[in-house]
Amino acid sequence: MNKKQKKLLTRILIATALMILLAFIPVEGIVRFACYLVPYVVIGHDIIKKALHGIKNGKMFDENFLMTVATVGAIIIALLGKGDYVDAVAVMLFYQVGELFQSYAVGKSRKNISELMDIRPDYANIEVDGKLEKVDPDEIEVGSIIVVQPGEKIPIDGTIIEGVSSLNTSALTGESIPKDVKAGEEVISGCINLTGVIKIETTKEFGESTVSKVLELVENASSRKSKSEDFISKFAKVYTPLVCYAALALAILPPLVKMIFLGQSADWMTWIYRALTFLVISCPCALVVSIPLSFFAGIGGASREGILIKGSNYLETLSKTKYVVFDKTGTLTQGVFEVNDVHHNEMEKEKLLEYAALAESASSHPISKSLQRAYGKELDRSRVHDIQEISGNGIIAKVDNDTVAAGNDKLMKRLNIEYNNCHSVGTIIHMAINGIYAGHIVIADVVKPQSKDAIRRLKRTGVVKTVMLTGDAKKVAEQVGRDLGLDEVYSELLPADKVTQVERLLEQKPAKGKLAFVGDGINDAPVLSRADIGIAMGTMGSDAAIEAADIVLMDDDPSKIAKAIAISRKCLRIVYENITFAIAIKLICLLLGAVGIANMWYAIFADVGVTVLAVLNAIRALFVKKI
């Protein structure tokens, strides 16, 4: 509890004690009034002060005003001998209990969510004369060496220069399996170092590091307000004065009608009491607090799963996603080349790969790297001589005493070697050893293991159409499209063509559905901003893509898209539940109050109880692990 809440609690306790005491003291008339005035002032003085302050500044109809009018009205009725002072004090007392509870619940949940998202490192260690010194990460310059001990957060992005460890990346990616790292590898800030001491050479300033970017993004997220939030704040602005006028009408009109037209007694007190009940019920707080809190919890829960959502409005749009358009390389595929297969080989697969890797060992092309990875053993470069690179064809080199030719069909034709055409999709490397064809190696960009599941799950969540746009060759694109079960595939597109395709799909989609684009590359930035929702891959993706996107997937897992949609739906469901629940209960209580069934106690429940229930319901948006 903070200071304000503690003070309020003390006042509540004092007022309650006084009320219990007064219940045993039989006093009548003006003395009774004076006696009950004490707890009333103790508990309600700030509310009355605020109400007066509001009136002075021309801002009449807020809840302080409502409570003041209601309780002062009740006191006057009691003074006239129609009711009891207990009512007035009790209403104020329970209102304050409600306020305290509400402020505590909201404050607590706000803090819980903020803590979940708090991945900010407090310090960085630098070595000065052999001793570690803690400094503000803001002061570390690019290229400095920082030391991260086990249990500490990596404060700044950089490259490991010394040490081996495993990192817990869950705060950033939601991935619970630790990631092993060693010298030479790049690490991002926000990860927790688990096992060994590592030294890192920083490559970015603190403000530009991943952790700062992520925090900035999440903190600014709820500033972009959703339509539901806008609706509620507009609603509150109209609703409060409206209820006040309704209460005024309720206090004046029925007695007048009774008196003038029906010739009965006016019964002023009853109707004024009902009007006051009406006022207590009407506070808009439940709505106003629970809607942004639901969105905040939804965004917080998603960020724990490695899904960063840049605003509540995007959460709202995401829940209506009907079309999902993908980029291929780096989004559905890993964006790294890998040896898929070896065909028609006369010799052992390993032997062929060894020859290929050795022949290509001088090249730094991704393809030669993939060959080296597939071979998996250390390469002895001294075994390779006389390397000739024939541009656009391949390589001819002497490995041990054999002449190895590795390249495409053009190379085979050039050397007059007969070769088998390959039906597989990807880059084909034909191999000839001493002029005799020895088979070919298929190298392709590998589809991410989660991609197929991702598409299936999207279909299950109700996405109507999945489309892939790629600059890659038709054959490769269609193969991937078939494997993953995508509805439409468009290949050999230039960046501008992607925008055109997305625009065409935007026109074609059902009016209420939304289109999401998922991409990672620099050339995706225009498409990301053109789509209703842009989703970028966080670790593979370029800064430009992440900047332009509305949602960032920190661990590049495409199956998180379905999860993000599920989270957004859950959050929106809670928002609508809260809106309908709060408005319905209020309307029912207002009606009951108007006809005299609901008294002040119902009224207090309608105000405070509904708020607390709505807040508790809002917190549910935080729990997204299982969906």
Partner: protein, 72 residues
């Protein structure tokens, strides 16, 4: 120019009222109050003195919500 300020406000509706009050202050181009993170971000019109404008923003916010605080 845009600046972020830490604020203290108790209820969500009051935060909305503060946002309105800040938006209406002279010299403020746009303002947004985030009740959840207790932050106010203010975009100033060009050539405005940030300090004077913020004093006015605080004054206007105090009018609608006496209890609020902006840490300028």
């Amino acid at each position: 120019m845009k600046k972020n300020y830490k604020i203290e406000v108790d209820c969500a509706n009051c935060a909305n009222l503060m946002e309105d009050a800040a938006k209406k202050t002279a010299g403020v181009k746009d303002a947004s109050v985030n009740f959840m993170t207790q932050k106010m971000s203010v975009e100033f019109e060009e050539g405005q003195d940030v300090k004077t404008v913020m004093q006015a923003v605080l004054k206007n916010c105090k009018k609608v919500e006496e209890d609020c605080e902006i840490f300028i």
